[in-house]
């Protein structure tokens, strides 16, 4: 299936992916209005070093440790996409304990958040990919993790 892949050679460290992600998951129609004067909580995060930067978001693993470890059944795989049911999550953070990529993070309201490839928001396809100015993040079919 199609997944998000990152090529760190092309990443500018511009953080636009984080803003597009936050906007896509805000439910708002206007990006400037949605993000003005707030601290964003994107589901994709840039790691920056001295001479390298790259984006990290859920890998949608074929054998997802977060789903297998989830104590409530809030995380599950639907057609290859690892989705999250906010209603059932109690914020125990077992998924944060388990994810090898550090791609699941605490969210406001005491639960967690993760990339769902924009399948549950209005975008329909990953906003970070569409917004990356240097094609350092792509959404395509490759080998399985």
């Amino acid at each position: 299936m199609k997944r998000i892949y990152v090529n760190e050679k092309w990443c500018l460290g511009c953080h636009l992916c984080e803003y597009y992600c936050a906007f896509a998951n805000s439910g708002a129609k206007n990006m400037a209005k949605a993000l003005r004067d707030i601290t964003i909580h994107p589901r994709i995060r840039i790691e920056e070093g001295r001479d390298v930067s790259f984006a990290v978001s859920c890998r949608h693993c074929k054998e997802p440790l977060c789903v297998k470890s989830c104590i409530t059944g809030s995380l599950k795989i639907e057609d290859g996409v690892i989705t999250f049911d906010r209603e059932r999550c109690v914020g125990c953070y077992t998924c944060i304990l388990s994810c090898p990529y550090g791609a699941i993070m605490p969210a406001e309201g005491g639960v967690i958040q993760k990339c769902e490839l924009c399948v549950q928001n209005a975008g329909g396809s990953p906003a970070c990919v569409a917004g990356c100015p240097n094609k350092a993040i792509v959404f395509e079919e490759r080998g399985e993790l």
């Binding site: 892949y5 470890s69 059944g73």
Partner: protein, 410 residues
């Protein structure tokens, strides 16, 4: 192929999902002592705190058994296994035959033989939905609760009922709370946080005798209470396998395919003991993720596939009143401690490997550490300064990152 699963919790669900990855149609029968749809056991404290409901705490959707073509026999127990005949005998005398059997019988709260325990009016253990429902009936605003045991179960119970009772006092023989997962400094931090929320602790002490609803402690203190919660630990339910001639220690012995020593009998979850990666010892890892993954491994193997569960480690995610604690592995070797307001972090390294950690307060991306422990990643292949600072993929080699984020093998 006929499958029977004894038990109906995480290991059983893992097994069903494992079987169905390999075998879409063969009949699966689940035998459950409890009369409930599969539910998440760790959520019982959240139920008392009003943070979940009986409907939301179902571990799988309502249609789970029918979706997976399983027959659930609820409210009956298996009293014996006949491995030579490949049958199990139920409490009602009926016998069922199997080709492959999973034992996922979980554990039972240990009730210590304390003098006068029989004289206590209201007492309960805290492991099942029925325990939680019983507590729900027993507690009231003027209720003074005494909890025996400052472990994970006792403290989650304390948190769950805190707002709904007059007082919660926790007694433990150990000199600190959560002694199985925390060191002195970490335990002191969590204890102080819980005390601010009103929980009282009596540590390095134990109940010598009950005189009705009065506990007489070793120290001489006398604690009157209205309700007693016994949470000193659990014991694996191994009797079915032991009585059938299978090998058991503290738990049912399983190999990395989750097979017991009895042919075609598998076991998973809290009832088992398996090899823990960081210590190399056989341990009972009574943890939900472990139960699910062992169950899934067993299920795949029962259905003719080939799965190995060989990365079991001790690990815990737990939180109290908003303070999160993540721990994993063994606490030995060289350590690195970082402390700041509301944050405590201790890493343990031995033989060029990260072998354990304690994170309190700031737990972001801890899974990167967890995976390094499970994979036994040699520390000289990562940038250790970066790893010490925080869990980050930047610490790995470019080639390794290409595998992880680029989906390309090196």
């Amino acid at each position: 192929m006929k499958y029977i699963i004894i038990g109906n919790s995480a290991a059983a669900v893992g097994c069903i999902e494992g079987i169905r990855r390999q075998d879409a149609d063969s009949p699966v029968t689940v035998i459950s002592a409890e009369r409930y749809h599969t539910y998440s056991r760790p959520l019982i404290s959240y139920l008392l705190a009003g943070k979940t409901t009986e409907r939301k705490m179902k571990y799988r959707p309502e249609s789970f058994y029918s979706d997976n073509r399983c027959k659930l026999i609820a409210g009956k127990t298996v009293i014996s296994i006949q491995p030579d005949k490949k049958t199990v005998t139920l409490s009602d005398g009926k016998s069922l035959d199997y080709d492959k059997l999973l034992v996922a019988t979980g554990s039972t709260p240990f009730v210590p033989p304390i003098a006068g325990l029989d004289s206590v009016t209201r007492k309960t253990t805290f492991l099942s939905l029925d325990d939680a429902k019983g507590l729900e009936q027993s507690i009231a605003k003027d209720c003074r609760v005494l909890i025996l045991g400052a472990g994970l179960i006792g403290l989650k119970c304390a948190e769950g009922i805190n707002k709904r009772v007059q007082s919660v006092t926790v007694v433990d023989m150990a000199d600190r709370i959560l002694p199985s997962i925390l060191d002195q400094a970490g335990a002191a931090m969590v204890k102080s946080h819980m005390e601010k929320k009103g929980i009282q602790f009596l540590l390095s002490d134990s109940v010598q005798e009950f005189r009705g609803d009065l506990a007489i402690l070793k120290s001489g203190k006398k604690i009157p209470f209205d309700l007693l919660v016994i949470a000193v630990g659990v014991r694996s339910n191994t009797a079915l396998v032991a009585n059938a001639g299978g090998e058991v220690g503290r738990g049912i012995a399983v190999n990395d395919r989750c097979e017991t020593s009895l042919p075609d009998v598998y076991a998973a979850g809290d009832c088992t003991e398996c090899k823990e990666v960081t210590s190399g010892e056989r341990r009972v890892l009574a943890l939900l993720p472990n139960a699910y993954m062992q169950g899934e491994c067993a299920g795949v193997n029962m259905a003719g596939g080939s799965a190995h569960y060989d990365k079991a480690i001790a690990m815990n995610a737990i939180g109290f009143f908003g303070l999160h604690i993540l721990t994993a592995g063994s606490y030995e070797g060289e350590d690195y401690i970082t402390k700041s307001a509301g944050v405590y972090k201790r890493l343990f390294c031995k033989d060029n490997r990260l072998c354990g950690y304690i994170l309190i307060g700031d737990v972001a991306r801890a899974g990167i550490y967890t995976q390094m422990i499970k994979d036994r990643t040699p520390l000289d292949t990562v940038d250790f300064e970066l790893i010490k600072e925080k869990p980050q993929l930047m610490a790995f080699s470019r080639a390794r990152r290409k595998e992880m984020l680029g989906g390309e093998s090196a």
